[in-house]
Symmetry: C2
Subunit: 147 residues, 2 copies
């Protein structure tokens, strides 16, 4: 079984080198643009009413993967699926960004953390009723972020 | 440009009919299981230290899409990318579920909202520092949820 994904647009950012790229949107105030291919532009109606959107995209520069990795934020090996490492069996990235404005098929976003030219696969509206969880625990990340 | 995605496992749930399936995990307390294909099981190390995980999966029963849709929770047409509708150009679904336990390559989850047999594409740990946004506004959803 396989699923063929084709980009619906492209994400532009100030980052042309993986080493400069912020680790997560909450660590970035960078401004970027999402340009949707014109044939999908009608799907953006009303998206500007949402303050935040979820971008799903392809980690197009990742090659291969390891099932045990050291996350950028830790120095210990963990299972790949316990990390947000970009090299994954299905290289799908997820970022939540602030949506500043829409002009036709162009979205201005804040908090972008991806490489310039990243192929966009999907946009979903961020809805706290669906997407916010409290009373969480976060394993190695919790330990590191307290350090 | 295209990206070929192959399932890394399967999600089991009590739901065999789209009409019975909850609209979002926060509206579900259903128990389910994620079974990772054995060749990816090593990638699960330490995931059990996280209370919540993000499942990315294929909407394998969706066929085609419209760029303007009526969401399940509204009676007005909106742009597809302003909704979480399952029929999308790239049919990737996203659910945040509680992780109850791991036994080898099997994850017990709570709050499952997908069809039984859904092909799993990726698992990411849910990290509030990355994934929680406050001071949001949510357009048509906000209006409907106050109604």
């Amino acid at each position: 079984m396989e699923f063929v994904m084709r980009p619906i647009g492209v994400i532009h950012s100030p980052f042309t080198d993986t080493k400069q790229t912020p680790i997560q949107p909450t660590r970035s105030q960078a401004i970027g643009q999402v340009i949707i291919h014109p044939e999908f532009a009608d799907g953006l109606q009303d998206v500007e009413e949402f303050s935040h959107i979820i971008l799903l995209y392809a980690f197009h520069q990742s090659e291969g993967y390891s099932l045990r990795v050291k996350p950028f934020l830790d120095d210990q090996l963990h299972g790949l699926f316990a990390t947000r490492h970009p090299c994954r069996p299905n290289p799908i990235g997820l970022s939540i960004v602030r949506l500043l404005a829409r002009r036709d098929n162009v979205l201005e976003i804040e908090g972008v953390d991806v490489l310039d030219g990243t192929p966009l696969l999907d946009i979903k509206p961020y809805v706290p009723d669906f997407d916010v969880r409290t009373n969480t625990h976060t394993g190695w990340y919790e330990v590191r972020s307290r350090a």
